[in-house]
């Protein structure tokens, strides 16, 4: 049995956990001094050694990313925190910033020190007002306490942090689109190369990391990289926040070593809703292909989920039980991608427009079985043909749902509509039945 390992979530229950006082009371900002006592390169080395991989979805080794920053480049270096958290199902960064924004701020300072950035930006999606208040406040407090500004803790290191609110665009989670947004432009992804490490914000060397990645840094510095890598699996080290939502008894945040299984997590969450069974789930947000009950024992690490034909993504475990129509779920996600397609490239812009039409017809029981092959062919023409990974994500629910639930699609056609009762899926459905 894998046990939970609260690190990032450890102080979330503390009284006024978001305040500097509360954070400092449990040793906050002490990792900072430890980092300042190290050479910046040693900090990078330590993060490399820890095996920390990006928590924003792709799992790129964080220390390696920092090492790509060309230190001989005379331009200023920037750290940008990706706090756009908009991938459907993903809900870990937002509670982290709400409960303990100082963990992030301390991580920002250490990370900036490592890459020698004197300016950092926290790009928070705009639709989370109170979270933005908390981060704004934390930054204010950190300045007042001398954790930000000039000559921080007497180290000679200067850092300014700007909290930047987005304005409603999922695509701005994609790092180059985020940079465009941060530069005051339409959030449309940029050509790569050049990679942000070489020419990112203002064409200067830039590191972009997810909130959870950056927030993990203080603990790595405080406790040592061995500590971090003692958790997790061979290639997926450390802990991560697993977000369970949907048809489990107690949805919520579960911080555990990578490699824990869904079976274990569901058990911790009190099981699937009373009287129902797991039908399908996303391992890491809607952009990661659906899995089913047959995958309950897949280790939730980058390799394990990959081997199962999906991706670990953001550990956004959306759980759907047998009351849920997979066609409805897939259509809704597809509508999301259509709505969020930035419009830059043809296959995503036009493809999602078309996919929605074919799927809505199918959901209404219109069309024919050949439409499933049409859908798969459209997906084939989108996947890997688009400008950025949003479109790859867009086809994930479709291809995976057809793979596992082809019969259910056909049942819509033969039955002339959806065989499911949507009222049975709701959070209050059980209560109504008993009432």
């Amino acid at each position: 049995m894998t046990t939970l390992t609260p690190v990032l979530t450890d102080n979330w229950g503390d009284e006024r956990a978001w305040t500097l006082a509360a954070y400092e009371a449990r040793g906050g900002y002490q990792a900072l001094d430890k980092a300042f006592a190290m050479a910046p390169d040693a900090v990078i080395e330590s993060v490399k050694e820890s095996g920390l991989r990006g928590r924003g979805g792709a799992g790129f080794p964080t220390g390696m990313k920092w090492g790509f920053i060309p230190q001989d480049n005379p331009k200023p270096k920037y750290l940008v925190v990706n706090a756009d958290e908009s991938e459907p199902g993903t809900c870990k960064d937002i509670p982290l910033m709400m409960a303990s924004p100082h963990t992030l701020v301390e991580g920002v300072i250490i990370s900036s020190y490592a890459i020698r950035a004197n300016k950092a930006f926290i790009y928070i999606r705009g639709e989370v007002l109170h979270v933005i208040r908390r981060v704004q406040r934390a930054v204010e407090e950190a300045y007042a306490a001398g954790h930000l500004g000039t000559d921080i803790h007497g180290s000679g290191f200067d850092l300014d942090v700007v909290v930047h609110a987005g304005a409603g665009a999922y695509i701005c989670g994609e790092e180059t689109a985020l940079l465009e947004g941060l530069e005051g432009r339409r959030g449309q992804p940029r050509l790569r190369p050049p990679f942000p490490a070489v020419a990112g914000l203002y064409a200067s060397p830039t590191v972009i990391n997810n909130v959870e990645s950056i927030a993990s840094v203080p603990s790595i510095i405080a406790n040592g990289h061995h500590w971090f890598s003692s958790m997790g699996t061979e290639k997926s080290k450390g802990f991560g926040i697993f977000s369970l939502s949907g048809h489990v008894q107690t949805p919520g945040q579960y911080e555990a070593p990578l490699g824990i299984t869904l079976r274990e997590l569901i058990e911790l969450a009190g099981g699937i809703r009373e009287g129902h069974e797991l039908k399908f789930w996303t391992p890491g947000g809607s952009s990661t292909p659906l899995l089913t009950a047959e995958h309950l024992d897949v280790p939730l690490d980058f390799e394990g989920v990959g081997a199962a034909g999906s991706m670990l993504g953001t550990r956004a475990l959306q759980i759907f039980d047998d009351t849920t129509c997979v066609v409805r779920a897939t259509l809704r996600w597809t509508e999301f991608y259509k709505h969020e397609s930035c419009g830059k490239c043809t296959p995503c812009r036009e493809g999602t427009w078309w996919l929605v039409q074919v799927l809505s017809a199918l959901e209404k029981g219109q069309g024919s079985e050949a439409d499933l092959d049409l859908l798969l062919d459209q997906c084939d023409n989108i996947l890997g043909r688009s400008f950025c990974a949003l479109a790859d994500g867009a086809v994930s629910p479709i291809t995976s749902s057809i793979k596992y639930f082809r019969d259910e699609y056909i049942a819509h056609l033969t039955g002339g509509g959806c065989p499911f009762d949507p009222s049975r899926t709701t959070a209050w459905a059980g209560q109504e039945v008993t009432a």
Partner: protein
């Protein structure tokens, strides 16, 4: 885009569809494929715009990226640079690439309207062509009952350009053009996803001098011009290459015509000159040649003194030649004013006509303010220079360490130079320094460092420039002629620093006229009139033993001599008196002349006053050569064979023959052959007589002015939509002067008054700028001479 390798070491070898090819490093795969004859389909890609990889039509399979590993997914060949050992399989050999491309094509078509039969682009549409050669016959989208995205029909994004959003495939060529090439980002992507479209801000139309280029590069029929819309179909059109006749840039154009009528003009491709862009003036201003006042037959005046009623009447060509010859022979001293619009061949004919047929050096092409200093400067510093021969070229602008602009506003006066400079500034950060009255929008788009200079103070400003070195280029505009010492200062600066110097006139024929010797001090081929050897040399080609040796009169002196009666006759072609230094004097001169022969395209004040009027051919009706400001000849052929429409060459030959002093040629080709035979002067060049600067000053406001690109010029008549894109005439004042006199001001000079809206700009407190030909009869006729002083009063806002 040059793909010629400079050094073998820069080559990269790769295999495309099994064929080995070596291309310069950094070449994009899409262009490398062209080298092996494979055309990868594309929409967003444009060789002169930064790559975006948006349309995804150009996907290819790359089984080996050059490192032994392939790309797992098809790659956009328009954003992928070649790598040594790379293996690329295009749609020609790879089923993966082929399917990927077919898939994209299908996506592009789902929302595309099926209106090709009524679309302007139909027949020349990359999307249509691609769909026909490569697309699926049937539409799976409509077969499945797909619902297309619709937009209300076309919207105007400027008075000239319309946008049909349903046709748009949002390739961003237009927006990238606008932002990158002219720097006019007034169109932008708006909305998102499937609703994404091209748009403008409310009340802020896409007003760019180069807007027409977006119509041409749009890969579908989404952008059309109000002027050409629905007028014809590409397959009904015949295309003939031409050269822009509106400025001295020599831009290549393509003239599309049908049954003797020009339907539209497009940019041609001339990598040395305009690359693939032209100004809206070169694109849209061609209706001047078909206006109702076009002259179509010769006319002679039944002179009262000969018993006639004093009116002009139609005449046959032979009669007109004879009457003209008789009148000129009897006039007792004839001056020749040729205007700046001539082809090199026509200019040569005038030059020879003056010297051989009339026996005079009283000839001048400068139908605008001028000076003797300028004539000397042209002979010494301009004539005979050309790219590769001491002259500055467009390419030199791109490589120069810095470029100095003096008396030249490139965006208004030389659009192709403006675009080349922007390219240099964007690609290499070239420093542009402008001696100008204020930081214009055009100069700010060049990130120019403005050396703010009041009109009249240019000579001192040029002399005081620093940071000019041997890698610099100095471009002087014709306007400097009016500032004593300015051209001399520029020449001195070039000599002192080793910088190269070029003169940029405004009109297409100006530079050719210098080479042809339409100046009082120059014979053709840069031969100084004052040099006996040079005269003998020219005379030999012309088969005459004597050429006039007295220095001729320049245009101002010709005008004065006509008024005073020292000259009696005038041969005048393509001159608008209101363009000249003193319009009233020019009109008086025409009035005073005892005999006037006019060669003109359209009826004007000059033809109405002339004794013999010859219609001459517009450029579409004749072959010819324009010489660019660089000194680069750009020959062109006639678009139409119109036997009744004769070039100036032929008219002058006819008169000369009646004068018994024939030119020895009658056609453009013959004239061209003789010009070649005479060749350039290889003797000593005329030296430049430097002129000292004169301190500027005085009461009131010094008048700064030049012509906007789009203005009231007669060669821009006839296209309402085009004219509506012009900038509103305003007077620009310093903020202090604006506060004192704005927002509406009345300017009064020695020639009249004008009331205009005012705008503040970073001018000196005693300088005012107005556009030269955007109101009334223009500044010269109706206000004052450039550089002179005017007074300003608060205008009546009525």
């Amino acid at each position: 885009m040059t793909t010629t390798p400079e050094k073998a070491t820069d080559l990269v070898s790769l295999t495309i569809d099994g064929i080995q090819v070596s291309v310069p490093k950094d070449t994009l795969v899409i262009r490398a494929a062209e080298q092996v004859g494979v055309q990868i389909p594309r929409f967003c890609d444009h060789p002169l715009l930064a790559p975006v990889g948006a349309c995804r039509q150009c996907l290819v399979d790359v089984p080996d990226a050059g490192n032994g590993r392939g790309f797992p997914k098809p790659q956009a060949s328009c954003t992928l640079p070649v790598a040594e050992g790379m293996v690329v399989n295009t749609q020609a050999t790879s089923p993966v690439a082929d399917k990927a491309q077919q898939g994209i094509m299908e996506f592009l078509l789902i929302n595309h309207p099926l209106d090709c039969p009524v679309c302007d682009k139909g027949g020349e549409c990359p999307l249509q062509n691609q769909a026909m050669t490569n697309g699926r016959g049937d539409s799976r989208f409509s077969a499945g009952g797909g619902v297309k995205r619709t937009f209300p029909k076309p919207i105007s994004i400027s008075p000239q350009v319309l946008l049909d959003r349903e046709r748009c495939i949002v390739c961003q060529r237009c927006t990238r053009f606008a932002a990158e090439i002219p720097g006019d980002p007034f169109i932008a992507l708006v909305e998102r996803g499937a609703q994404q479209q091209i748009g403008i801000a409310e009340d802020a139309p896409f007003l760019s001098y180069f807007s027409g280029n977006v119509i041409q590069i749009c890969p579908v029929g989404a952008l059309t011009s109000a002027e050409y819309r629905f007028r014809s179909r590409p397959f009904d059109l015949v295309s003939t290459p031409g050269v822009g006749e509106h400025d001295s840039c020599g831009a290549a154009i393509r003239i599309d015509h049908r049954r003797g009528k020009v339907m539209r003009r497009l940019s041609g491709e001339d990598p040395e000159v305009n690359e693939e862009w032209i100004t809206d003036k070169d694109r849209f201003a061609f209706h001047y040649a078909t206006q109702a006042d076009r002259l179509t037959y010769p006319q002679v005046r039944d002179r009262v003194e000969d018993g006639g009623d004093g009116s002009l009447r139609p005449a046959s060509w032979p009669e007109a030649f004879a009457v003209a010859a008789r009148g000129l022979a009897a006039a007792g001293g004839v001056g020749v004013l040729t205007g700046g619009r001539l082809t090199a061949e026509d200019a040569y004919a005038y030059s020879k006509f003056a010297r051989v047929s009339l026996g005079t050096n009283d000839i001048d092409f400068r139908s605008r303010p001028l000076s003797a200093e300028e004539a000397s400067f042209l002979a010494a510093e301009v004539a005979l220079r050309s790219p590769g021969n001491g002259g500055v070229s467009y390419a030199d602008l791109e490589t120069a360490s810095s470029v100095v602009l003096a008396g030249l506003e490139p965006e208004d006066e030389a659009g192709t130079i403006f675009l080349r400079l922007r390219k240099a500034v964007r690609a290499r950060g070239t420093r542009v320094v402008a001696v100008a009255p204020y930081a214009t929008r055009g100069l700010s788009k060049l990130s120019a460092q403005v050396v703010r200079t009041a009109p009249g103070a240019e000579a001192a400003a040029i002399a005081g420039l620093d940071g000019v070195d041997a890698g610099s280029v100095i471009l002087v505009g014709e306007r400097l002629a009016t500032v004593p010492g300015a051209l001399s200062a520029a020449a001195a600066l070039a000599r002192r620093t080793g910088a190269r110097l070029a003169w940029v006139p405004r009109r297409a024929g100006d530079r050719g006229a210098v080479e042809a010797g339409c100046l009082p001090n120059l014979l053709p081929g840069g031969r100084p009139v004052a040099d006996a050897q040079a005269r003998v040399d020219a005379g030999t080609t012309w088969g005459v033993d004597h050429l006039p040796d007295a220095a001729g009169r320049d245009a101002d002196e010709i005008v004065a001599a006509l008024v005073s009666g020292e000259l009696g006759g005038l041969v005048i072609g393509g001159v608008d008196p209101d363009d000249t230094a003193d319009p009233a004097a020019t009109r008086a001169a025409i009035e005073a002349a005892s005999f006037v022969v006019a060669l003109e395209l359209r009826e004007t004040d000059v033809t109405r006053a002339a004794d013999v009027v010859f219609p001459v051919a517009p450029v579409v009706d004749k072959a010819g050569t324009f010489v660019t400001w660089e000194g680069r000849p750009r020959p062109f052929e006639a678009v139409f064979a119109s036997p009744g429409s004769l070039p100036d060459v032929r008219v002058l030959a006819g008169i000369a023959e009646e004068l018994d002093r024939p030119l020895g040629f009658r056609t453009i080709l013959e004239a061209r052959a003789e010009m070649q035979e005479m060749g350039p002067w290889d003797g000593e060049r005329a030296g430049h007589t430097a002129v000292d600067a004169v301190p500027a000053g005085g009461d009131g406001f010094a008048l700064a002015t030049w012509k906007l690109l789009v203005d009231n010029g007669s060669m821009q008549h006839g296209d309402k939509a085009y004219l509506a894109t012009g900038r509103v005439a305003v007077a620009r004042l310093s903020p202090a002067a604006y506060d004192a006199h704005g927002p509406i001001v009345t300017l009064t000079g020695d020639r009249g008054s004008v009331t205009l809206p005012a705008e503040p700009a970073d001018l000196d407190d005693d300088v005012v700028w107005v556009p030269a030909n955007s109101f009334g009869n223009g500044v010269l006729a109706g206000l004052a001479s450039p550089g002179s002083r005017v007074t300003i009063a608060k205008g009546d806002p009525a």
